[in-house]
Symmetry: D2
Amino acid sequence: MNTLLEHIISDCRQYTAQGHVATYIPELANVDPDQVGICISLDNGREYFAGDCQAQFTMQSVVKPLILLQALMDSGVDTIHSLVGVEATGKPFDTFNYSDQPLSRTNINPMINTGSIALCTLIHGATYRDRFGRLLELARKLAGNPQLTVNESVYQSEKLTGSKNRALAYLLTAYGMISDPVEEVLDCYFRACSISVTCRDLARIAHIFANHGAHPVTKEQLFPAEYAKYVNATLVTSGMYDGSGEFALNVGFPAKSGVGGGIMGVIPRRMGVGVFAPALDQRGNSVAGIKALEKLSRELDLSIY
Amino acid sequence: MNTLLEHIISDCRQYTAQGHVATYIPELANVDPDQVGICISLDNGREYFAGDCQAQFTMQSVVKPLILLQALMDSGVDTIHSLVGVEATGKPFDTFNYSDQPLSRTNINPMINTGSIALCTLIHGATYRDRFGRLLELARKLAGNPQLTVNESVYQSEKLTGSKNRALAYLLTAYGMISDPVEEVLDCYFRACSISVTCRDLARIAHIFANHGAHPVTKEQLFPAEYAKYVNATLVTSGMYDGSGEFALNVGFPAKSGVGGGIMGVIPRRMGVGVFAPALDQRGNSVAGIKALEKLSRELDLSIY
Amino acid sequence: MNTLLEHIISDCRQYTAQGHVATYIPELANVDPDQVGICISLDNGREYFAGDCQAQFTMQSVVKPLILLQALMDSGVDTIHSLVGVEATGKPFDTFNYSDQPLSRTNINPMINTGSIALCTLIHGATYRDRFGRLLELARKLAGNPQLTVNESVYQSEKLTGSKNRALAYLLTAYGMISDPVEEVLDCYFRACSISVTCRDLARIAHIFANHGAHPVTKEQLFPAEYAKYVNATLVTSGMYDGSGEFALNVGFPAKSGVGGGIMGVIPRRMGVGVFAPALDQRGNSVAGIKALEKLSRELDLSIY
Amino acid sequence: MNTLLEHIISDCRQYTAQGHVATYIPELANVDPDQVGICISLDNGREYFAGDCQAQFTMQSVVKPLILLQALMDSGVDTIHSLVGVEATGKPFDTFNYSDQPLSRTNINPMINTGSIALCTLIHGATYRDRFGRLLELARKLAGNPQLTVNESVYQSEKLTGSKNRALAYLLTAYGMISDPVEEVLDCYFRACSISVTCRDLARIAHIFANHGAHPVTKEQLFPAEYAKYVNATLVTSGMYDGSGEFALNVGFPAKSGVGGGIMGVIPRRMGVGVFAPALDQRGNSVAGIKALEKLSRELDLSIY
């Protein structure tokens, strides 16, 4: 398996030249665009690696499934579902186009910014620092990595430059969908996006979603299977932004990408995958990361369709 | 299994009251809205039934996966993909909203009318009657039912009233995406939508998609596995119109619905399902049909996520 | 006055190089792009000319005010207003973007194709040939030019290539806004667009709108003043496509342009202007024509604001 | 003239029942909805009144022409025009629908919130308090009323509840169209909207726009005629929100309405009108106010078309 992964990485590294690292904050702009790493987490704790699998990067949108999960655990399916719908929007992740219709649950979903920001208000906690604390705990538990922490300079930069997210949060406020102070809600969101991980963390988190909430080694049920399916189903229709349809075709399993260059791939009942390659296509997806997942899917017949 | 299906049908019949049959042509408006039928096709030719499984109805949009398949078989993945994209549009199936952008492959997919009409031009044949003939042959072969034929009065009505489809076809023409005469292309499309089937036909067709192109009894490979995955992946993001996200959550497998009241469900590597219940929700999906698939999925753990 | 017009034409001819003639049909593509002509019609039959004022060109969208007027004369304000609204759409003249809302009077106006095609159905006549006949009669009467006639080859080309207009007409049909056969309605519309005129014809027609329906020489009231104001007001918000706002700023009176290169300018209570310069900007407005009207407006203080 | 105005008011008071006062802040919700007042300002200082012409109300969007004027006076036409376009958007004044296109000058104008907020950044001043001070000075000078001041409780409420405007301002920031701190820019905007006036103030301000910048009594040129025409032209296409087209038809002169219930009407070269009637239609325009202007326009033949 390690050989296979090595082959995939060496085949895919060329594709990094077709993308560009995110540039909206210096911390992302200064990343080495040629990195590619992959990790697979299989049952009984077997893990395989190749490439830049030690590299740290921020989760960015890859944290959205965790925000959704924590909100599900804290507030339940019905409450989540009444605030944020699950249909694909056919629009970029940071879209402002609400088609002359009032913003409502029917035109957002948990994998676009508007939906994910709204879901932060359904995580429990006395303060938004507490809420973020619980989210970080969840990430640490799923990744089996108590060291996970926020990249402070990325967080500060996100906070400083996040005008579009502020606009989305005030829009949610204007339509009565959130009522907490915008800056506090966003602080939780910006911290969440800035959690620093490696491919291995993503592979392990993905594996637990693949395992429907059960820890692959201890078999402990960390959260209800129903929530895992909720998250996985949402990933399928919206996880790869407006490239989700093409990803379903070429790769064929639930996945979530982030502009930090990470992708978390969930192969239900089989395994978790984490990839990292920070050069992005114009949709904000990792170019070499998608290529690596395509090859992996073909080699191991991972498509669920 | 038959007992399970009977239970499901008797549980779900009440939901027919929550929907309304399609009314845009008299042939659909006059259908008995209380009907519910289901059929499952398993390996080795085992088939199970319950309810109104003898009832004939027209495929309508359920034929779209077959149009896509025939186009794939005749013109190949690259040609199909360069004409019609695969992203969810976030819009109703008959949308005219092309967001001030020129109509192009990026804003259509094979499961909305515009995409499906365009794909008719990639089916081979000297005339559009010939093209439709090949499509009907394909439907007969997959359903194992040489009797499949067009419901003439539905076809005539569709042809008479199809102003929106004419508008879409002329729009495709205006943007240079199709060049054949609109009325001929639409004639093929209207005939295809008017093919009359039962749940059993849908279950069998679905089973072959589930089986990645191999006939479940003879094991003959009727079309490449790659095409089955292409179709199944497309169904996941766009098969249930703008209810695809919710369907992924609650049911969890590729499916295609039509305003005739049919739904074809594909459970990859396991089985095919056909349901029929003509009372529709406002998105154009069969109300009781979706409920039946929800129960079936829960009982048999069919979600692929 | 002739000297002023000569100066304007010689100043503006350079701007023809900044535009391009319409190319969707050969008859328009082959026109000499360097032409510029202007004519002014003042009270008591005084007329002034400069440049290519003998050149024949087709009215194209400049005929829309006449279609609106004939529909008003035949069906009255209330009927017109209940079919076609008057708000600016903020969209191109041939837009298909109906914002996920059903097409209705609220998202069309008489100066975009959809609205103008719809208005053809409110002109009286036993056949659509008769309706067009009445429209041509109106054009002849207003222009005081019984020779006005259709450019047959333009008409045939429009008819042959008009896929987008066909799409719009079928959309109107689909939403129940028109019920006559699409090809007949469009035949009237295509003929109307193909009426061949000179600047002088446009200036005279404009003059009667400026004069609120009264013939400037005979003083005969050719149509109610109310209808002239209806047309003029509509021109202000929508007459120059999505350049109407800028035109209001820089020129400042009601006007209608067409892709044939003509612009008809109405200076209420003062005069009518016709210009012709077939090189168009990207919105479909005559580049040198607009420049000429800007200069004229400044020289003669014609802005009504 | 006073008799005419009395008649108009008594005829129009019934229409107040068809509207509703704005309810988004208590200060507006508690206003007596049955009020109707009108004032006309003619040359040589003649002024006529009827109805509730002493009533104080906040300018709200009626201040937008003043923001535009001050920005023109401080930064010039070219700078204004390169930041904020002048085309009608075909959308509500607080729209978020930017059609999947980046926000830019082409999809905003000075009479919608986004445009008006952006223009606050082009008013000169060391601080935003200073900028607002200059704007208030301008309003006082044009109204000839040194008492004009901010309604503090309306201002505080606007500031407290203005989520949608915050969203729009952050959107402007996100697209690089403004760079000053959002809360400061909005503070200026909220104060401006909260300036308290009577019909008479509006009539006098309007009169100066009608008079192309010259004071109707002293004849002093308060600002260049060109700026008056810029403002007036903008009012015609966008001043009455998405009811601008209908207003052009039925009333026929430049005007600006606000959700406080005021409308300022500019009849170029003739007079200024101010009306106040706080019951609004669904577009946010004063119902009885529009009716009053319709009658006035018909009686005095004020349409400029």
